[in-house]
Amino acid sequence: MFAMEDLADDILQESVPVSGLITRSHPELENDTDDGLVTYMAFQTTDEEMALKACEQLHSRHARFMLGWCIKNRNETFGESAEDFVNKTFFKAFTEADKFVCPDSADGTNQVLAWLFRIMKNLYLDSRRAEGRRPVARPNGEAAWLEEIEERQRESAEQVPTGTTAAMRAFLKTLSPKDKEILTSTAEFWDPKKGEAVIDDDVREGICAEYGLTESSLRVRRKRLKDRAKAFIQQNTK
């Protein structure tokens, strides 16, 4: 089958906007846990109607939270396409539901949300690659690669002194949305083992295309931001 996100793109572009908001929920599923809903979704070949209802129920519970994150925390990244990204995340979750494993059912809701955010992150990376005008082809094992880097990121980030982190946060507040987005987008790829942000070519091209930058001007701009940040932190850390 071809990529579900491509199909979702087509539909989202072609669908006629629905006027007004109707909040739907399925009373029979209201007491089900989130990981339980994903289980219904996974059994879509056995009971498609129940699977669809479960996905709608999951969407009605969490789409606003995810949309809120896109708007409040990554508005520069998602802009007006935030709701489309959220919807595409749920489409993808519907087709990939059988791959979800809940490691801790006592914390099922947060486990499901973390899974949904991982799906959204992969959709975001794919969209960056698409903007780079190259075929969207996720290398085998990429998810594992990302997890490995993220684990190293966590360990290294936890060693940063609190004062330095606070100064960096203050510095980020001084930046234009575009400059902050450049740092944020590239920070997703920071590999502590290599000491730098290792961005794959397709994604880097996508970032450049979005901001009208060449690869060298992206590098220069990021370096200037880094130098400014270092100076700011040096001046503002006690």
């Binding site: 089958m1 579900m4 491509d6 199909l7 979702a8 087509d10 539909i11 989202l12 669908s15 906007p17 629905v18 007004g20 908001l21 109707i22 739907r24 669809l52 709608e56 969407h59 009605s60 789409a63 606003r64 939270f65 949309l67 809120g68 994150w69 409040k72 925390n73 709701e83 959220v86 749920f90 489409f91 519907f94 947060n110 486990q111 949300l113 973390a114 955010f117 959204m120 992150k121 997890e147 990121q153 290294s156 980030a157 936890e158 330095t164 982190t165 960096m168 946060r169 980020l172 740092l183 944020t184 920070a187 997703e188 730098e196 942000a197 880094k226 940040a229 270092k230 932190i233 040096q234």
Partner: protein, 151 residues
């Protein structure tokens, strides 16, 4: 002189590149700007995120789209443009797997079946669309020939 002494005592060392990256990551993670990747991140985001002014997503629209995705694999077959797109994708897939037994590919078969369904359901294929489909088909054949020749 006094100023210099104070300056030297209080001025911390400049961050190295690695320390900068670690601090940037820590700051972005703290403020929730990086994609949350586990339940712990999600819990912390929930506690800190201000949901005021966040619009309610249109669940009715989502419901319609989800059912369309589930029913047709996302390609409405009553729109000639979509039919052409479906054909183009099918042709591309055939090219991509030219050296395998594509005739048994469930993906290609499914797409061809959808094209047939579109025709049966009365999805009108205009002359213009048909011409474009023929061009796509010719290009796909040409590509297969070219690739076979290269082997």
């Amino acid at each position: 002189m006094e100023h210099m002494k104070t300056h030297n005592r209080e001025q911390p060392k400049e961050l190295s590149d690695a320390e900068f990256e670690a601090a940037l990551h820590a700051a972005l993670r703290d403020e929730g700007s990086l994609f949350p990747r586990n339940a712990e991140d999600v819990a912390s985001l929930k506690a800190s995120m201000d949901m005021n002014d966040v619009p309610t997503p249109d669940t009715q629209k989502f419901r319609q789209l989800l059912r369309q995705v589930a029913k047709n694999d996302g390609v409405p077959t009553n729109d000639p443009q979509n039919i052409r797109q479906l054909f183009r994708r099918t042709a591309e897939k055939i090219v991509n797997i030219f050296d395998t037994d594509w005739s048994g590919s469930s993906e290609v078969d499914a797409n061809l079946e959808k094209l047939a369904m579109a025709a049966r359901n009365g999805g009108e294929i205009t002359d213009e669309i048909r011409k474009r489909m023929e061009v796509d088909r010719a290009q796909a054949k040409e590509q297969i020939k070219k690739n076979n020749g290269a082997h």
